[in-house]
């Protein structure tokens, strides 16, 4: 009798335990299926189809599309990865000290500074990028400012330097690879700063003190203590920057020239203008595969599998 009474609630509790996690997962899974799994399958399928928009497409497993796509557009693919890589390095160089400062040195201005990091998101991505046209352009803010300060020699020196290292044309800032990378760096900086901040803020400063008590120079304390501890933040930040930057094309359209075409522009033109859906899909799948490969290797090497 007593056994039967006690068994009832226990079984019910177990059943609820089995059911609840799935119920909680369901909305997320549904979301992933509808907005990720189905589009991905459709994209891969499209890339293997032949036909045209006017007469319809059929799946023919036409793998040649990939060969054509990659043999024609590999320079744009490589360029996209290089620009995204450069932008990631620059956001890290700018973002790390900034995140450190906000986390440990800003005192009561911490929240204000965090809001300032996010503030650019209050205006549209497009407007922010267009603003760089006005800043970098002919007779723009940068040129008039350096002129007023009699520093135009510095600007021209920088332009020539960019020309020498292959990031510019030697006589202008706008419409050069430099402008594109700068635009990417600017637009994705918050994606680097926020994860870094979240990580660095939790970093125990007593460990740094301990390092210096044990005669570590500031440089070796950074290299041996701070950097390894902040690595999860660095990995998260670089992924959040690199992945969208590689597929971005607004910066290249607005700030670049015909010599800075990125893969996103090619996909856009093949999809919208040439109406060659299979080629556009094949390029998208290739980009996705390349990024996944890059990210896997990177995360393995950084030794932070638990993040992903």
């Amino acid at each position: 009798m007593t056994e039967a009474v006690s068994a009832g609630p226990a079984r019910r509790r177990r059943r609820r335990l089995n059911w609840v996690p799935y119920a909680l997962l369901a909305p997320g899974m549904l979301w992933l299926i509808v907005f990720f799994a189905v589009p991905t399958v459709s994209l891969v399928s499209q890339s293997l189809q032949t036909g045209d928009v006017f007469n319809g497409y059929t799946l023919t497993w036409h793998v040649q599309t990939y060969v054509d796509a990659l043999s024609t557009y590999w320079p744009q693919l490589v360029r996209s990865l290089v620009y995204a890589g450069l932008a990631t390095v620059f956001t890290l160089l700018l973002g790390y000290p900034l995140a450190w400062f906000i986390a440990h040195r800003s005192g009561r201005f911490k929240n204000v500074l965090l809001v300032l990091v996010i503030a650019p998101f209050f205006t549209s991505f497009l407007i922010r990028t267009l603003a760089w046209q006005t800043i970098l352009g002919n007779g723009g803010l940068l040129e008039t400012t350096t002129d007023a300060l009699h520093l135009s020699w510095l600007l021209h020196g920088f332009e020539s330097f960019l020309g020498l290292v292959g990031l510019g044309t030697g006589n202008q800032l706008l419409y050069t690879p430099f402008a594109v990378v700068a635009g990417l760096t600017y637009n994705f900086l918050p994606f680097m700063v926020l994860p870094l901040y979240a990580n660095i803020e939790r970093l125990d400063l007593r460990l740094v003190e301990a390092a210096s008590d044990l005669y570590a120079t500031p440089a070796s304390a950074f290299r041996k203590v701070i950097w390894p501890l902040s690595l999860p933040g660095v990995v998260a930040g670089t992924l959040l920057t690199f992945i969208p930057a590689a597929g971005d094309y607004i910066n290249s359209v607005l700030l670049g020239s015909t010599q800075t075409v990125m893969i996103g522009q090619v996909i856009d033109s093949q999809f919208l203008r040439v109406l060659n859906y299979p080629l556009a899909a094949a390029l998208s799948v290739s980009l996705m595969a390349l990024i996944i490969t890059f990210v896997t290797v990177y995360v393995r090497r950084a030794g932070t599998e638990e993040l992903v």
Partner: protein
Amino acid sequence: MPEQRTPDLSSLAARAALARGVASRRTVVSGVFGIGATLALAACGSKGTKETAGGSASPSAKAATDLSDTEKLVNWSNWPEYIDVAESGGGHPTLEEFTKKLGIKVNYTEDYNDNDEFYAKVRPLLAAGEDTGRDTWCSTDWMVARLIRQGYVQPLDLANIPNHGNVEGSLLNVEFDPGRKYSLPWQSGFAGIAYNPKATGGKKIETVDQLLTDPALKGRVTLLTEMRDTVGLVMMAMGKRIDKFTDADFMAAIDEIKKAKEAGQIKGFTGNEYTKPLASGDTAACIAWTGDVVQLQADNPALGYVLPETGCTLWSDNFVIPALAKHKKNAELLINYYYDPAVMAQVVDYVNYISPVQGTKEVLTKADPGVADNQLIFPSPATLERAQVFRGLTEEEETKYNQAFQSVVTG
């Protein structure tokens, strides 16, 4: 209970294989997944428009039940800054007048930025036989040709457009729509060469050759993403006619553009957004549309604009009524309204493109003689002599030429 944890395998064969120990559970699961994925990939094919018409020529557009008489409303999609705007800012006087006169409200949306982009937006709806939510929009000639070919636009009921007889004679019997059964022009214009003397050092840019080869312009030239304007101007500069040309002529022009691009002469290929860099001097010279430049010259009179001696392109953007438009009659009444020269004069006075309606010039000669005398808005027969219209392309040509041109644009 262990049975409950067994994956639900739908395939009996897989279950049998599992029982015989032929396949491990993981390979079966991945196999089932693989078959599922294959089926999913195969399910993603799409139907074209032609299948429904049994492979015959142009399929015809379906009409919806016309709600015009009960819903006093018309939805019109148009290009940005392509209609008169009140001096006080906001509001379009001619549209307000239309609503006042006929009691029909106009939902005027400026969401037509680019022919290709707009086509990509409405094509899936049209192909699926669904309403696009729009009763009329203004497409460029070649896009109208495509829409008619695919049966995506309905014939106009001319009984609702008594003013249709006002259309300019030269625009009546166009190649893609003889007698204007499906479309009526909204505005026309030329593509020519614009330059900023401040950026060229006072030098006049008057030929396509200068655009493509003059070292003084290196890296500061933009061309249009609109293939027919860019390639058209280059072909004419090479002595060809764009109303009749061969594959070889087209590809030769593409090679010229490619050469200029690879030499670093061309900064970019643009849509409407060429105007700002041209005004600021970041762009020294470019291919530009008349109305845009006339508007820019109002702020910056120094800007130069030339219709090249070798020839310029002439195009129109045309009203069409898509399949299943819910307010077809209202759209026709709207078109009729703008085919009144007095109304069209107000629009042209503001947008500065070429009016397709006869009698507009007479109205403007009285109201705004400056505009009426402008060769770019009311071209003389001598000016029109230079203009050519790009010939219609077959589907195969269109695909091939787009591919060739885009490989230069994004190459």
